[in-house]
């Protein structure tokens, strides 16, 4: 059996969630439901210090996300700091608030890549899902500006039951724009997406059709030796084994939330675990020695069926957040696993997806009013 602190390598990926503020209201947002209660933000100096500590520990990939990271006025400074430290930096943005001038400023400051996220391939649906008018045209313009400024073009589409039928159009749009990478990411059901799961989760039939479309398109790209890379993240609710979440708890990924809370993944805040804060402890202590990060390292914490399972080195028992949300106990096997005693929850969600009738107007949109409803205490 592995004890927690055996073979802990450095955090190679650092995700800096600069803010929970965002002009959009995506109903699948991965921010915590009670984000409105966590409105503290680290200062510029504190962020630069976190970046420098992370880099010293070995982090090489850096994501600036949020919320909408563009609302931080000090973003150019943080980008320049990251470049100087030797990070490969990624800006993950909705494109709202971006301008051609900023795209070029960021490039000069040393930003390596900008990922623009879309909600759909046509303006009506895109804007309905994002809870904003004008969003689509702005995104198109910014995607083009990104490419013109010499960055690789990375487009992200969050896929759900209301846009999954548009796969062919989405891919055609991406190719027209000259995308280098396309990420088709089916919602993962944490945060707002969990609250809205019934209204978001595609049916198996929808998924099968979409996968066939994507595979056809990929084959055509390969035949033409076209460099565009298409990544399709399918919902694990249709699998019989869970994903190896974050490549193992506290093994590669370190997220720092806007208020400085350090997390092993961006949704772990929902777990009933005390996570450390970068304003109180050095990052090195947090990563290697804090109870929060050591909580699910190794496998000695596992109950059955994982404990005696010969696949535990492959998937680490799946996702702790999913286990917690679906079974009430984060120690349990991820119910996606067919060996889990709670696998019926997944089967029920699949059945619900076959019969769901809810429209976009029935979803709970991510905004401060709705968040206050979820705030505890």
């Amino acid at each position: 059996m592995n004890t927690p602190t055996d073979h802990v390598g450095p955090p190679l990926w650092l995700l800096a969630e600069l803010t929970y503020r965002c002009p959009l209201q995506c109903p699948y947002c991965s921010n915590p439901l009670d984000f409105a209660h966590h409105d503290q933000e680290l200062s510029t100096e504190q962020w630069l210090d976190v970046l420098s500590q992370g880099r010293a520990m070995g982090a090489a990939q850096l994501g600036f996300s949020g919320g909408e990271p563009l609302v931080r006025q000090d973003l150019p400074e943080l980008i320049a700091g990251a470049r100087e430290l030797g990070y490969y930096s990624n800006l993950i943005t909705s494109g709202l608030g971006l301008t051609e001038a900023k795209v070029q400023d960021f490039a000069r400051a040393g930003l390596d890549h900008i990922q623009v996220s879309f909600q759909a391939s046509d303006p009506e649906l895109n804007n309905a899902v994002a809870g904003s008018r004008k969003a689509f045209d702005q995104k198109l313009a910014m995607a083009r500006a990104v490419k013109d400024a010499g960055y690789p073009m990375v487009l992200n589409f969050v896929v759900h039951r209301h846009n999954i039928h548009q796969m062919a159009d989405i891919l055609a749009l991406c190719e027209n724009l000259g995308a280098d990478y396309v990420e088709l990411a089916t919602c993962q059901y944490y945060g707002w997406a969990f609250a809205n799961r019934e209204g978001l989760m595609p049916s198996r039939a929808q998924l099968v059709t979409a996968e066939a479309t994507v595979n056809r398109f990929r084959n055509q790209l390969a035949e033409r030796d076209h460099p565009m890379k298409v990544i399709f993240v399918t919902p694990d609710y249709y699998e019989e084994r869970p994903k190896a979440c974050m490549n193992g708890w506290g093994s590669l990924f370190l997220t720092v939330a806007p208020d400085g809370t350090a997390l092993p993944c961006h949704s772990a805040r929902l777990l009933p675990i005390d996570f450390p804060n970068v304003t109180a402890s050095p990052l090195e202590d947090i990563w290697y020695r804090s109870p929060g990060f050591n909580h699910y390292r190794g496998d000695s914490w596992m109950p059955e069926p994982c404990r005696s399972c010969d696949e535990k080195d492959k998937d680490f028992g799946g996702c702790r957040c999913q286990a917690y949300l679906l079974t009430g106990n984060a120690d349990n096997a991820d119910p996606v696993c067919s060996k889990s005693a709670h696998h019926d929850r997944i089967l029920a969600a699949r059945t619900a997806a076959d019969h769901a009738t809810a429209g976009l107007e029935d979803l709970i949109y991510r905004n401060a009013d709705n968040s206050n409803v979820f705030c505890r205490g």
């Binding site: 190679l12 090489a60 990939q61 890549h113 990375v154 990478y181 460099p227 890379k229």
Partner: protein
């Protein structure tokens, strides 16, 4: 062999002390390179041709013998992965 390789845009090659290895970084990805891949990519600068890279490496590692085959096989694979492109 006269073709000139360069890293595709968005790709960065650097030495990572924590991993004791050269890595290739790209949008949301990182490949840890073994010693010979690192040595080859270190010479990919958009100026040296494949042929020149072979010469440089053969001078640096005389004990390794002729390298033309290894270098062009690796560069072909790197191009297939779209890490590099030919000028």
């Amino acid at each position: 062999m006269d073709k000139i390789p360069r890293l595709r845009r968005g790709f960065r090659f650097q030495w990572e002390p924590a991993q004791q290895a050269h890595v290739l970084l790209y949008p949301e990805g990182m490949v840890k390179l073994n010693g010979s891949a690192g040595a080859i990519l270190a010479e990919v600068d958009g100026e040296h041709s494949c042929h020149q890279i072979v010469t440089i490496l053969e001078q640096r590692f005389p004990e390794a013998g002729p390298l033309a085959e290894d270098v062009s096989a690796f560069l072909a694979e790197a191009a297939r992965q779209h890490w590099i492109e030919w000028l």
